[in-house]
């Protein structure tokens, strides 16, 4: 018997009742046993358990198997598990194929047990045809550059960057805004202890600025990302500040003298800033920035006041953006989130009624560094309100806007803000209108209790409408208390909307540059929701913080640190094993038409005539070249034509599970 003769082993997994509840697994195993080439077939309760894997390994030895099929769940999560298992038993890991009986059969054909079992049999037969034709492949190693880039300098990105730098890896921290700190830097207090936000964030921000291993690229954006795991090239556009960072001492004379006032995005429309500005005093770097869209000198060519007054001559209106190319082995994406702006829908009169504000605006009003120096004042008349209403879930859990998810921070945040109001103004009336109150995590329930003990009232129900008194600008909230059934009409001085969390507006573009996937709601998608929460589908790219979905600060920090650990684990060995799935060219059959060069998205095909070859480091294994070669001269490893065709034939010939 030659070595080439396939001796296939088929293992059908029950996955408890997950598969076996719909698919008759023993029947599938029995059916598979009769397929040509199959010398061993059995069903296992849990193939991926230690016992299950041991059974597979023993069967490989006992029956001298040289091909293995496991019919279980999706290969997107479990292929690596079973490849490692067959490798342990001495088999090449690429002589393995997986059938997805769970996600593609039992879970989506519930109650159609007979048909599902038939489909399962057919899928197994297809896989057996494929596996017989697979060839052993050797993984290739690529060297890994021991540097990393963190995109996004909020608290998640800062946490990731600091851990990576402390582990000894040179780290580039790329931040779009003029300063790092993200949304957390704009908060007044953080729940549940209600400690001062910038007091805990400020020190780690300056640590980033000081760390010798961190190259801070603030006010910078990612232009393009090329390369592959271990060797990415990122082109970064360092936007010009029109101020020489080396010369600027952060004295602020320019800001005092600047005549142009513009809306301050860091105060969410509550205050103005100058055209030359620093987002907040603790900014890192502490350099000032000229807003090119608002500066009169840059837009109209007249003014130049700041340049005249700058004591160090740091201002230069002719400065240009700088493109920097960095080479890194791994990338951490932590670009955070956007706050939902209800003025688009004018929900609850926001944007029309002056005293309806969002919770981020209230955050600035309670903040001592904010526009009112920590005194809560009504936008309409500057009076201190006495009667407050909070409306929860504005834009969250709302199918009308495809924002059908909990914002995760809104309930705790409103309790935090309510307790702050009660501390500042003990006579105030605070009512919170909520569909449900969700206080997850240690300490959060305590905050909920503390708020109620201080006199905050929680009303179950979502207001139906808010009316404004045109003279007093007071607000009448109409709602129904769902516990008592009572209709409520209560007048307030100020209404605060707990705004939703959205994916950042430019995430689609970044996702495309990085080649990572977005989930249904637009946030970036992790490789596995349970087991690989900080990995993307692209090797070497890790995800952290609220770019993955709504999360609070401790979670964002944990994700940042987890992504850093993932990146370190990848970089530490200095080399990375890449999938040996790349294209091969048969130069004898090649007619030198050059179509493959054009088709390859990575420029991985080089040379002409007999010199034509595929550079495996660049080839990502899509097989587009193989799919279009008119001569069949180019073929894709592991998805070779003679490996796919038998599977196609088996699928097309399938007649109700009869082999």
């Amino acid at each position: 018997m030659s070595d080439d003769t396939a001796r296939v082993g088929v293992f059908t997994c029950h996955c408890g009742l997950n598969i076996n509840g719909t698919v008759d697994c023993p029947a599938v195993a029995k059916f598979a046993a009769k397929l040509p080439g199959v010398v061993h077939s059995t069903d296992l309760l849990f193939a991926c358990s230690d016992d299950g894997q041991e059974n597979i390994k023993e069967a490989i030895k006992e029956h001298n198997l040289n091909r293995v099929v496991v019919a279980s769940c999706t290969p997107r999560t479990h292929e690596p598990v079973f490849r490692a298992c067959v490798e342990d038993a001495g088999l090449n890991p690429y002589l393995y194929d997986q059938v997805n009986l769970r996600e593609h059969v039992s879970w989506c054909h519930m109650g159609q047990n007979e048909k599902a079992t038939t489909k399962a049999k057919e899928l197994v037969a297809m896989s057996v045809e494929r596996v017989k034709n697979l060839e052993p492949l050797m993984r290739q190693t690529v060297p890994v550059i021991q540097k990393t880039a963190v995109i996004g300098g909020g608290v998640a990105g800062i946490s990731a960057a600091l851990d990576l730098a402390k582990a000894g890896f040179e780290t580039y921290l790329i931040e779009k805004r003029p300063t790092i700190g993200g949304q957390m830097a704009l908060l007044d207090k953080v729940f549940p202890q209600n400690d001062c936000s910038i007091c805990i964030l400020g020190p780690i921000m300056s640590e980033v600025g000081r760390h010798p291993k961190i190259h801070l690229l603030a006010y910078s954006e990612v232009e393009s990302v090329d390369g592959y795991v271990g060797n990415f090239t990122i082109r970064v556009r360092e936007k010009t500040r029109y101020i020489d960072v080396e010369k600027c001492t952060g004295c602020g004379v320019c800001e005092t003298k600047c005549p142009s006032k513009v809306d301050n995005e860091y105060e969410f429309g509550l205050a103005k800033r100058k055209a030359v500005y620093r987002p907040f005093p603790q900014a890192v770097p502490s350099t000032y920035t000229i807003d090119p869209e608002k500066c009169r000198m840059i837009t109209e060519g007249k003014c130049g006041v700041c340049q005249k007054h700058c004591p160090t001559g740091a201002i230069d209106y002719d400065m240009q953006d700088k493109i920097t190319e960095i080479n890194v082995g791994t990338i951490v994406v932590a670009t955070g989130f956007d706050i939902y702006d209800p003025s688009e829908t004018r929900e609850f009169g926001y944007g029309v009624f002056q005293n309806v504000i969002t919770n981020v605006q209230l955050e600035r009003l309670t903040n001592a560094a904010g526009p009112t120096h920590g005194k809560v004042k009504r936008p309409s008349d500057g009076e201190t309100p006495k009667r407050f209403a909070f409306v929860q879930c504005v834009g969250s859990r709302d199918r009308r806007m495809d924002q059908d998810y909990c914002c995760y921070y809104g309930c705790e945040n409103s309790f935090k803000q309510a307790t702050q109001i009660m501390e500042k103004y003990p006579d105030a009336d605070v009512h919170i209108f909520a569909m449900d109150v969700r206080t997850h995590g240690l300490g959060y329930e305590g905050l909920y209790r503390r708020a109620r003990e201080m006199g905050v009232t929680v009303i179950k129900g979502r207001p139906s409408e808010i009316e404004q008194n045109p003279e007093t600008k007071n607000l009448k909230v109409l709602a129904e208390d769902l516990y008592t059934g009572e209709r409520l009409e209560v007048t307030y001085d100020m209404v605060v909307l707990a705004s939703a969390i959205l994916p950042p507006s430019d995430i689609e573009e970044l996702a495309r540059k990085l080649n990572v996937s977005q989930g249904e709601t637009g946030f970036l998608m992790e490789a596995h929701p349970k087991l690989r929460p900080v990995d993307s589908f692209r090797d070497g790219v890790f995800l952290a913080g609220a770019v993955l979905g709504p999360m609070d600060i401790p979670k964002a920090v944990a994700y940042g640190k987890a992504a850093a650990a993932g990146a370190q684990a990848l970089m530490a060995p200095g080399e990375f094993l890449v999938e040996p799935i790349f294209a091969d060219i048969d130069t004898e059959a090649c007619i030198d038409c050059g179509l493959c060069n054009d088709m390859c998205p990575y420029g991985a095909i080089t040379g002409e005539g007999p010199e034509r070859k595929v550079m495996f480091e660049l080839c990502q294994g899509c097989g587009t070249c193989a799919g279009g070669c008119p001569q069949n001269a180019i073929d894709m490893r592991h998805y070779r034509k003679d490996q796919v065709m038998p599977q196609v034939e088996s699928a097309a010939r399938a007649r109700g599970g009869v082999a």
């Binding site: 999706t74 997805n100 769970r102 593609h104 048909k115 977005q518 899509c622 097309a652």
Partner: protein, 174 residues
């Protein structure tokens, strides 16, 4: 035909989008007919037209090519080629004596479990109406002479064109 006709559909998927979408349909327990059998490739760009022909030649009642939405391809531009090859195959269906509706292109992202399930359900219904493939030697196909069939086919494909466009738009907004 003794039993009611159950179409046999071969569905090519890419590893990143449509296979993920099919996984999500399962994870979300979205229910759909059992008729489509998936062949996983890395990219829909790997689908060699000869694979589609081979499927029909061996008796498949329908073939689906599925992948990432245009612009979302994991390999940047692989699915542009898929679109071109699909268009070419589509025009060749008549020549093979097959109804053009037996071949379908479906873009579904990894977050579109519902679109995947709807796509399979719809395809199954279409093929059920068309009957078994004339090439698979089972039962009698609803075969008209090519001359007669031509305008009829046109009408069907026109009708189909509208929802297909809508589906693409729907996906693009993501």
């Amino acid at each position: 035909m003794s039993k009611s006709f159950e179409p046999n559909i071969v569905a090519f998927t890419c590893n990143w989008c449509s296979y993920g979408g099919a996984d999500l349909a399962g994870i979300s327990r979205i229910q759909y007919p059992t008729n489509a059998k998936v062949i996983r490739l890395m990219c829909s760009g790997r689908v060699d037209p000869s694979m589609v022909l081979q499927a029909f030649k061996n008796g498949a009642d329908g073939v689906m090519i599925t992948g990432c939405h245009i612009g979302d391809c994991h390999y940047s531009t692989g699915n542009y080629r898929t679109q071109v090859r699909y268009d070419a195959l589509s025009t060749a269906m008549d020549m093979m004596g097959l109804h053009p509706d037996r071949l379908r292109l479906l873009w579904a992202s990894a977050s579109e479990g519902q679109q995947w399930a709807d796509g399979i359900t719809e395809m199954t219904q279409i093929i059920k109406k068309l009957g078994p493939s004339p090439l698979n030697g089972r039962g009698k196909p609803k075969k008209a002479t090519p001359k007669k069939a031509a305008p009829k086919k046109e009408a069907v494909s026109k009708k189909k064109a509208a929802p297909k466009k809508a589906a693409k738009k729907g996906g693009a907004k993501k």
